[in-house]
Symmetry: C2
């Protein structure tokens, strides 16, 4: 993961409403949630919700698929994992066992089982 990607993800998550949305989707798992359901659970006006969803989308933290009239959003686990890895890389000048690199295998959707790429810092 490059710095700008990590930054975009952190900017996106650094807002209460978006953190709420993201965590709701993390909890919902790969099945995801329709935009309407998210708005209902978090009591958000449609336009406001849509604004925040687009921010999260832009940061690649969530994906969506259409299902009939609904748009189903779900958390992008691999990007989340890459972010976690990025944040702890190069810590302590890579010094010793006391500073282990992050374990990025944190949260995988049920279906998928590919190894999350150890993000490389640039």
């Amino acid at each position: 993961m490059e710095k700008q990607e990590a930054l975009a993800a952190l900017v996106a998550l650094g807002h209460e409403t978006r953190l709420d949305i993201f965590r709701l989707l993390m909890q919902a798992g790969p099945k995801g949630l329709a935009a309407g359901q998210i708005g209902e659970r978090l009591a958000l006006p449609a336009a406001t919700l849509s604004f925040h969803l687009s921010q999260l989308k832009h940061a690649d933290l969530i994906t969506f698929r259409r299902e009939s009239r609904s748009l189903i959003y779900s958390a992008a686990y691999p990007v989340m994992n890459a972010l976690l890895a990025y944040m702890t890389e190069n810590c302590c000048q890579g010094a010793a066992a006391s500073c282990e690199p992050a374990t990025p295998s944190t949260c995988q959707p049920e279906e998928r089982h590919e190894t999350p790429a150890r993000a490389r810092v640039r």
Copy 2:
């Protein structure tokens, strides 16, 4: 870690200059860096740097100690670890082995070896 703490940390890290500062301190390790050195390396005016340091301080992401005339800043590893844990907790409705909780033992300062508390969500 509670939501507001995690949010504060994410808000703080969601800014390029602060992410640069934080990563610099992560890399510097427990020895830390004097404010002046940070400003020099990142080419920041003193007032701007001080503003961002106070934001990071407020989010408990960094600590500082005085050493003669210099203030030495360093990354607060335990808080970082708690944040990583928080972000992946409760994912996939806690479903199965495919959704392992985050391993918080990511980055420890050299001197310390206490077990990082598995942050609890409220």
